[in-house]
């Protein structure tokens, strides 16, 4: 007699906890072949607003951590992901119908993306910041700082894990906290990644993951007064211009949709503010 398996309940990931949707709704997630895989939480407006509260609360600690510490924490995600690669290969094969080799390559790329971004945490300031040679007796220094809470629509096509990681990692490097809407039809790897984050050293609330309909949730985030930036990376199929217009009310920084989020310094700097400090130098 074969052993009966114990399937996992997939929930949201908000403030370091795994709550069900406040709305009580779920939707069925199917494999590439059309078989039922699991019920995912159908995130609501209230869930999104809770996630923003968590992200805001976590901002002080995460942006205040030393760059070296943030780098080590992000690197640790790669370490833990490496240890659970079999699970992710499995989930990707089921959800996306990928071959073992293809799924494995996607997990590799996701791990390597964490390593690449982790290394930037204590370097991007030196590369993007500078001393300014102003004409006068002043010390003048420009440094980038995190923007704040970043709402992200994760890629809705392509590899669900790699797309998700490529969306959130750059925002985390500088010390932003994020609220991210996962791949709608393949959301399970994102929630499993939430489990990795929850058991790594990433403080609760730094990454908040919503599953459900981006078309339903994104407008609430785009217009939310306590969200500082909006990454429409995976919103290409939505009415994303409307989202950008909604974001204009609070002058959010907005990144437009992209087909492929190749790791880049530009994605890190998109969610930073440049602060310039002037200080007098006395005459001696």
């Amino acid at each position: 007699m074969t052993r009966l398996t114990v399937p996992k309940t997939y929930k949201l990931y908000i403030g370091g906890k795994f709550p069900r949707s406040e709305s009580g709704r779920v939707y069925a997630v199917s494999s590439a072949a059309g078989d039922f895989l699991a019920n995912a939480a159908q995130g609501s407006r209230k869930d999104a607003r809770d996630a923003v509260v968590s992200a805001r609360a976590a901002l002080k600690g995460w942006s205040g951590a030393t760059a070296y510490n943030r780098g080590q924490v992000l690197y640790r995600i790669a370490e833990l992901l490496e240890g659970r690669r079999a699970q992710f290969v499995d989930e990707i094969m089921q959800a996306e119908g990928a071959s073992a080799a293809g799924a494995s390559a996607q997990v590799d790329d996701a791990i390597d993306a964490w390593v690449w971004y982790a290394g930037w945490a204590d370097k991007y300031v030196q590369v993007a910041g500078n001393a300014n040679p102003v004409s006068g007796p002043y010390f003048n220094l420009s440094v980038p700082e995190p923007t704040g809470v970043v709402a992200i629509v994760a890629p809705q096509t392509g590899g669900s894990l790699l797309g998700f990681v490529s969306a959130i990692a750059p925002a985390l490097v500088a010390g932003n906290t994020v609220v991210v809407i996962a791949h709608e039809t393949a959301p399970l790897t994102a929630i499993s990644l939430g489990e990795v984050l929850a058991t790594s050293d990433v403080p609760g609330g730094v990454v908040n993951i919503l599953t459900g309909s981006p078309a339903e949730i994104a407008p609430w985030l785009a217009s939310h007064g306590d969200v500082n930036a909006l990454d429409l990376l995976g919103a290409g199929a939505l009415d994303w211009v409307d989202l950008q217009i909604a974001a204009a009310d609070t002058l959010k920084r907005v990144l437009p949709p992209e087909a492929d989020a190749v790791p880049s310094l530009a994605r890190i700097l998109a969610f930073t503010e440049t602060k310039t400090v002037w200080h007098t130098k006395s005459l001696l």
Partner: protein
């Protein structure tokens, strides 16, 4: 036991698992050296810790050949991301074995366990972690797109921060894609040998890092080896000069981090409590065996007496003794030779008319010890105001105006570090502008970070370690199309001339050495 006495709190040596003999680490394995092995001792007890192999010129040759082979066949063909992953592994292993490394370092070097445990080892691991992240980002190092590694790096490091200096040298070299032959200082090879074991655990490809032990002659053979592309040296200015001479006319790239005579300038509006602590740690940290030590205190005349009184009171509380005791502030002097030099310069200080003072402290019978010492009434012409003592000795001079402070601070052939203590930011920044020193600390002292460039002006050397600048020191700009032939022609011409030049410079060097010994 009296009030303020401390019971012994020794750190256990039980987690050490040392071998009686250490070989040369070449091509991924420990090998016997062709030279006569020498013993490494604990400067606190003069007892032998282990025997260390000695590398001859032939061994140096083998090591450089291994590094060249590893560069050609493995390391230069790896992706930056894979090089980075090896460095991350090394950083993690160092973090995991941190306590063991700290105990070994204190045992072999004589520095207090609190320093090796809280400064040397964590910083060394941080250095690897930091440069690991650079390995796949070389385009951003500031030398243009697609920069190239240099090849084989010959690195010679000092005894004051053995493991930390190793990390400063090896981490950026590997991140940039070079392979390495490193020689630790004769008296402090132990942690380098433990580091070699870590490289084995990290499964670093053979020959990428080679560690050869020995005395000055081994180092000389290494930096003079014709198949070396980069020379990085930290140590005395005298040896730095010798190396600069010997690489002249070759296309070896050179970084030198040499001596210093750092000025610590205290203005009358300074936050005095912090200043006293900063002055104390600035010169007594690591027994004063710090090239960037604040060994010249320049104090504004109006607060001179108060500062000196408070310094003496603070020095009275410094505990000198067993490096492995967690309560120790000042450990053992690293070697008999160094102790001799500190004594000699201090005696000269008295002869030249400065006033010497040390707190009452009982020094252990065995080992090499020197009580924290302060000289007042020092003038700028005194040897103790000009020569690097490299020991727990502070020389105090005074000034009246900022201009005088700057003039006195810059009155040195060195230029590594300086400190400024004042509550007035605009004064700090204006003074910092005028100081000829590579690192300037304001209202703090002796701060180090892998992200922050470190290095000196003038005779404190050239090149920077740390940050983007430290990475660039191990990179060459990509060769632009069309420029290759021109460069090659120049190099060939130089090589042709080298036959004559070599002889001329050898003669010159010989006569220069004669002069120096006079």
């Amino acid at each position: 036991m009296k009030f303020l006495d401390y019971a012994p709190a020794p750190e256990s040596q039980a987690l050490l698992n040392l071998k009686p003999d250490y070989g040369l680490f070449i091509n991924g394995d420990f090998q016997l050296g062709n030279g006569t092995p020498f013993s490494t001792i604990s400067p606190a007890t003069e007892k032998q810790i282990a025997m260390i192999a000695s590398a001859t010129e032939a061994d140096v040759d083998t090591a450089v050949a291994a590094a060249r082979r590893a560069y050609d066949r493995t390391w230069s063909r790896l992706s930056g991301s894979d090089r980075g992953k090896y460095l991350f592994r090394i950083a993690r292993l160092m973090q995991e074995r941190a306590r063991e490394l700290a105990v070994a370092e204190s045992l072999d070097n004589g520095k207090p366990i609190t320093e090796s445990r809280d400064v040397d080892v964590p910083l060394a691991a941080a250095w690897f972690f930091y440069y690991a992240g650079w390995a796949d980002k070389l385009d951003y190092a500031g030398v243009g797109p697609n920069p190239a590694a240099l090849g084989v790096a010959a690195q010679v490091i000092p005894w004051n921060f053995p493991l930390l200096m190793l990390a400063w040298k090896i981490a950026p070299a590997l991140a940039a894609g070079n392979t390495v032959v490193l020689k630790p200082a004769e008296t402090t090879s132990l942690t380098a040998m433990l580091f070699a074991e870590i490289l084995q655990q990290a499964d670093l490809p053979n020959g990428v890092v080679n560690i050869i032990t020995g005395a000055g002659a081994t180092g000389q053979a290494l930096v003079n080896h014709p198949d070396v592309n980069k020379v990085a040296f930290t140590g005395s200015t005298a040896v730095g000069r010798m190396i600069a001479r010997s690489v002249a006319g070759t296309d070896k790239k050179l970084t030198l981090e040499l001596g210093g005579k750092g000025a610590n300038i205290v203005f009358d509006d300074a936050p005095i409590d912090q200043a006293i602590e900063g002055i104390i740690s600035g010169v007594f940290f690591n027994q004063g065996h710090v090239c960037c030590a604040g060994s010249r205190l320049l104090v504004q005349e109006s607060i001179h007496d108060e500062v000196i009184d408070r310094l003496k009171a603070r020095m009275n509380t410094l505990r000198v003794g067993d490096p492995l005791d967690k309560n120790t502030d000042v450990g053992a002097i690293n070697s008999a030779e160094q102790l001799q030099r500190i004594r000699e310069l201090s005696d000269i200080g008295v002869q030249e008319g400065a006033e010497r003072w040390s707190p009452d402290c009982v020094l252990p019978q065995e080992g090499f010890w020197f009580a924290p010492t302060i000289f007042t009434n020092v003038s700028t012409s005194h040897r103790i105001a000009r020569d690097e003592v490299f020991g727990p000795v502070l020389s105090v001079l005074t000034f009246r105006t900022p201009a005088e402070a700057i003039a006195k601070a810059n009155n040195t052939p060195y230029g590594l570090s300086a400190g400024i203590w004042s509550d007035k930011g605009s004064r700090i920044l204006a003074v910092a502008d005028k100081l000829r020193a590579g690192v300037i600390w304001a209202n703090t002292f002796n701060k180090f970070d892998p992200a922050s460039p470190f290095g000196g002006y003038q005779e404190s050397g050239y090149g920077r370690e740390g940050g983007r600048h430290g990475l660039a020191a191990y990179l060459a700009p990509a060769v632009r199309p069309g420029s290759r032939s021109k460069t090659a022609a120049v190099t060939t011409a130089a090589a042709a001339a080298k036959g004559d030049t070599a002889k001329v410079s050898a003669d010159k060097a010989a006569s220069a050495r004669k002069k120096a010994t006079k």
